[in-house]
Structure formats: C-alpha cells, structure tokens
C-alpha cells in the first residue's frame, strides 16, 4: 500500500476515533486536516512521497473558506433558520398544535396524526432535526401523556415526524446538497415533494391502523368535543396563516417571483409578520430569535469550515481517487453498488450529522454514481436525473439513520426533552415500526425513480 493511501485511511480512522471523544465535530475535521497536512509534509521529506503538502499549500483553506462566504445560494440557510425560530419563539407553532388537536381529537390516533402533520409543516420551515424533534416533543408529549397514549407510539411518532424536516422542502439539507453537486435547487425541492408526502402518508396510515387495531394505544380523550363547524372554522383560522406562509415560500419559488435564496428571505419576513399578527412579536422575541439564528447558523457553518480543510488535505493525498476506485471496483453491479453506498451512508449517519455527510461523503460519491451509467429517465428536462434521484435516496437514508437504536441522533434529542420516567427503551421500541416504514419507502424510491423525477420534470417541462 502506498504511503499516501495509508495517510488517507489514517485520516478517516482518526476522524472516527476522535469524534467519539466528544471534541466538537467541526474542530476534529479541521484539526485532522492540519495534522495530516503536517504528516504529508514529513512523508515528502523522509519517505519520498510527493503529496506536495506543506504549510503554504494548507493556505488554500483560506481561499476555500472565502468560497463558502462568497456563496449566494447558502444565504438561504440563516433565513430558513430564522423563519423556523420565529415560528417557534412566537408561539405560532404551538397555536397550530392546539388547534389541530381539537380537530383530530375524536379520531383514534388523531393526536399522533396531528403531530405528524405539524411535523411536516415544521419540516417545511426548519429542516433542523434537533430543533424539530425538540419542538414537537415539548409541544405534544404532555398532551399525549395526558391522553394516555402508549408511550412507544407517542415517542416513535415524535421522533419520526421530527426527522421529516430534512427531507421536505424547503430543506436546508437539499439546498446544501444542490450546492455541493451542482444540481438545481428547484429540481431537488420538487423531487423531494412526493417522497416526503409519501412518507408522511405512510406514517399517518400506520398511526391510524394502530389506533384501530389497538384502541388502548391511542385512546380518545374523555372530554373530546364533537367537531362542529365552529371547531373547523376555528382550526382553519389558526392554520391558514401558517400554511399560507409555507405556501408563499414555495409558491414564490415556483411562480418565479423569487429564487430559492430570495424565497428564504420572504419566508423569514413572513414568519415575522405572522408573529406580529398574533401579537407575539416584541423586541425580546426578536432578540431571542436573532441570537438563536446566529448561534445555529454558526455551528452548522463551523462544520463547513472544518470539512473544507479535511476535504482539501484528503484530496491532496489522493483520497478522492482512492475512494472512487474502491467503490467502482466493487463486484456488485450498479444497483449492488448503490445499495452498498446507501448502507454505508446509513451507518455513517449513526455518528455523523447530515452536514458532514453532505459535505465530505456526497461529493466523493457523485462521480461514482455518474460513472455507473444508469439509465434514469429525466424526461429530457431534469439535468443529471441519476444524481437527483440518488440524492433523494441519500436524503431518505440519512433521515432513517437518525432513528435506529441505540445511536440515532433523534433519539437523544427526544430523550433530552422527555420527563425522567420515560425510558430510552420505550423510545427504541417506538421508533422500530417507523424505521421499517422508512426502509419500505426507500425501496419504493429505488424501484420507482419516477416518484422523484416526475414532479420536477412536469414542473419545468
């Protein structure tokens, strides 16, 4: 084995090893980059390699950081985060919850369905897994407990609905994936609509079935009011503004009023107007929202910076070629390779957030997928249809990888907001059916790429 290959493998191993020490991910990535640049330099001096790495070359990190700053597309990131924060802090999301609960309260599993629907709506606004899961947990767990829901069902619903956020547009993850792979954000947003809705529908169907088969798991509250036209009107009144906001963001993209980047700004303003409309807006709320947005954007961005250093050194060491030739050399055939990659992403998702996977792993995988020569129908409209489809597979795999016990991120976020008597084992039990649903959905996507590609083709055709 060549020395630079050993260094590449060493980078990955020390990355994974150091991750588990609990040192922040961003700095593990950046630090390893620096350390291995040093090792590469020493190898050049004493082992006769030609990595070309030295302190000067490492300076490319600054140019790469600048490239991240000088990026019009990523402007959407803080804006979507602002929008999600504003909906949360101004109590708009909570109002949504309580009013929908009235509407669905008399249906078995209705409350859980509500959580899923809210999850989808929140999903459309935040796209930050931790935030969605925590928010849903805080809002709905007390209500579900009071209504004597089976704990696993309640917890499973929250965890899975919370993770929908990274898939359903406008999703920050999709924005970043598009940026990384040079795909159209619009294609990815459109491509994610059907898979996301399909998944949401599968969740709802599952919950309703459980409610029907095991009435004890999802009891109807004793004081459930009959749904009258008055309730419906009230719910509509409560839900409409928020839905309007979501659709105005997506709509302004699809109607050509704004680019996705600009739509994020429209969404941020819209959420603020909504908060004003509900009389929940004041300087303190704004300051809180700003502080959180500032903080969240930064810790996501930190990983960008760390990853860009890691990726630079990895590339200088020839890591790209190594991984590409390893993957394309697998004796599995195209679909075998795809399943292998998805399995890899799934496992990586246990300990990496989607951000690192998107920034480091995805760009390495894209050329492999392109080289497979898959004949995926983009209807002559969608560019790189095989990549758009593959990104959706990765997105859904990642989303699934947040749920599995014992390491799924979503589980920890959820445990963090549960009352102490809730056991981790109950959460584990609750998410298993949802994981199975996810895997089924994933297989459906593998089998029918049109589920991803038809909508963008129809929209842009």
């Amino acid at each position: 084995m060549e020395i630079n290959e050993i260094l590449v493998i060493g980078m990955f191993i020390s990355f994974i090893g150091l991750l588990f020490t609990g040192i922040p991910v961003a700095w593990v990535l950046g630090g390893i980059g620096v350390v291995f640049a040093g090792l590469g330099y020493l190898a050049d001096q004493y082992l006769d390699t030609i990595t070309g790495l030295d302190f000067l070359t490492l300076g490319l990190v600054v140019n790469r950081v600048w490239k991240i700053m000088d990026n019009w597309i990523l402007v959407a990131l803080p804006m979507f985060i602002f929008m999600g924060n504003m909906l949360d802090k101004s109590g708009v999301a909570e109002r949504l919850m309580s009013s929908m609960q009235e509407l669905f309260g008399h249906v078995r599993g209705g409350l859980a369905v509500t959580v899923t629907v809210i999850g989808i709506i929140l999903a459309a606004s935040t796209g930050i897994i931790g935030a969605s899961v925590v928010l849903l947990g805080v809002m709905s767990l007390p209500a579900m407990t009071k209504q004597n829901y089976s704990m696993p069902l309640a917890l499973g619903t929250i965890a899975s609905a919370g993770t929908l956020g990274i898939l359903i547009p406008p999703s920050i993850m999709l924005v970043i994936m598009a940026d990384q792979l040079g795909l159209s954000v619009g294609d990815l947003f459109m491509g994610a609509v059907m898979p996301g809705l399909m998944l949401g529908a599968m969740y709802v169907l599952y919950i309703l079935t459980v409610g029907w088969l095991k009435p004890d798991a999802a009891p109807i509250p004793e004081n459930a009011k009959k749904v009258t036209w008055g309730t419906v009107a009230k719910v509509l009144k409560a839900v409409t503004p928020t839905l309007f906001l979501i659709f105005s963001v997506l709509g302004s993209i699809f109607a050509g009023i704004a680019t996705p980047t600009e739509a994020s700004g429209v969404g941020a303003l819209g959420a603020t107007i909504l908060a004003i409309y509900y009389r929940k807006f004041n300087l303190k709320v704004l300051n809180n929202v700003l502080g959180d947005t500032y903080n969240t954007t930064a810790y996501i961005f930190a990983i960008f910076i760390g990853a860009t250093c890691f990726a630079l050194v990895l590339r200088e060491l020839g890591g790209d070629e190594l991984i590409e030739s390893f993957l394309t050399g697998l004796p599995f055939g195209p679909y075998g390779i795809i399943f292998f990659i998805l399995a890899l992403v799934f496992v990586l998702g246990f300990f990496l957030d989607w951000i690192e996977i998107t920034l480091i792993i995805l760009p390495l995988l894209a050329p492999v997928i392109s080289a497979l020569g898959l004949d995926i129908n983009g209807y002559g409209v969608v560019d790189n249809p095989e990549l758009v489809w593959f990104v959706m597979l990765v997105a859904m795999t990642l989303q699934t990888s947040f749920l599995p016990p014992p390491v799924g991120f979503a589980l920890f976020y959820l445990k963090g907001v549960c009352p102490p008597e809730v056991k981790l084992s109950q959460i584990y039990k609750g998410v298993i059916p949802f994981i199975i649903l996810q895997i089924i959905a994933l297989l459906i996507l593998v089998y029918w790429p049109q589920l991803v590609l038809w909508l963008p083709a129809a929209a842009y055709g």
């Binding site: 620096v34 950081v65 019009w72 804006m79 994020s264 810790y299």
Partner: protein, 178 residues
C-alpha cells in the same frame, strides 16, 4: 446550551466570554438587514424591473459576516456539535482533559492556520483595491475579506477562555486532592 456559571470567578475567561457575547448580540442584527435587503431586491426586481447587483452582493456580504462571527459565539455558548455518546458519561476531569487536548492539538492549530494565511489574503485585496468583478458591484472587497482574520481572532479568544476555565478546573481539583 449556555455555559454553566462557574462557582469560582475567572475574570479573564469571563471577560472574554462577555465580550464575545456582546459582539455577537450586535452582529446578529445582520440577519435583520439581510431580510430587508432580500425583500428590497425582490420588490425592486419584480415590482420595478430594476434589481441591483449591489443588493445581490450585499446579501452574501451580510450572510458571510453573520456566519463567520457567529463561530465565536457558538464557542462561548458551547453549542458546536459534538458526538456525546461517551462524552456525556465521562467524569468532569476526563472531559476537562479532553477539552484541553482538543483545544491545544486540534482547534487552535486549525484556527491559527486560517488566521495566518488570511492576513496575506486580506492585504492583497487591500493593496490592489480589489472590488467586485461585476462592474456595478460593491467596492472595498478587503472589508468583507477582513471578516476572516477578525472572526478567527475572536474564535481563538473564545477557545482560550475555555482553555483557561479547564486548566483552572483541573488545577483546583489537584489542590483539593480529588
């Protein structure tokens, strides 16, 4: 997410953290400016067919300022993402040792590399009066480029504050014999 208030006063570390927080609370307002800039651009472009390259560029200038300076803020609030499956179960002493090693061996070298190399990067932009490569774009490119060394300085300060806290914590532990 907030840094736990330490029972013992650490004047230097506290002062650094307070400073970073103050800077953060101020710079966070770039996101309000960003919203306004985007809306103005959309309105001008769609409403009056006269979008401005300047506004387009201002958007990423504001965004870049916000994210870069935010790094130090997230450092003082200890919210940078970490995998805490094991970390959460470590003893305070182990955590402290890990944090010290992380800062000295990984974090400060990384931040140092960016800082040192960014100086030339900014100087060059200033030296030749670099401006937008769009004829109707913004001037004074060195200003936004200067965000890199400044934000890295602030981030390194935040890391130093944490380092001071951990060292003090460890040495205190030694003195009291645990």
């Amino acid at each position: 997410m907030k840094q736990q208030v330490s029972p013992v006063k650490m004047p230097v570390a506290d002062a650094i953290d307070r400073f970073i927080e103050k800077v953060g609370k101020t710079i966070a307002w770039v996101y309000v400016l960003l919203i306004l800039t985007i809306i103005l651009q959309v309105v001008l472009r769609k409403g009056f067919s006269s979008g401005l390259v300047v506004l387009e560029e201002l958007q990423w200038h504001l965004y870049a300022t916000g994210v870069m300076f935010g790094l130090s803020f997230a450092q003082t609030t200890q919210s940078h993402i970490r995998v805490d499956i094991f970390y959460a179960r470590f003893s305070p002493k182990t955590k402290s040792i890990i944090d010290i090693c992380g800062i000295l061996l990984l974090m400060l070298p990384f931040v140092g590399v960016i800082f040192l190399h960014s100086l030339d990067f900014v100087y060059d932009a200033w030296r030749i009066g670099e401006r937008s490569d769009s004829p109707s774009g913004l001037h004074y490119r060195w200003l936004v480029k200067a965000v890199i060394p400044l934000s890295m300085c602030l981030l390194a300060l935040g890391m130093l504050a944490k380092l001071l806290r951990e060292i003090q914590f460890l040495s205190r532990g030694k003195l009291s014999g645990n």
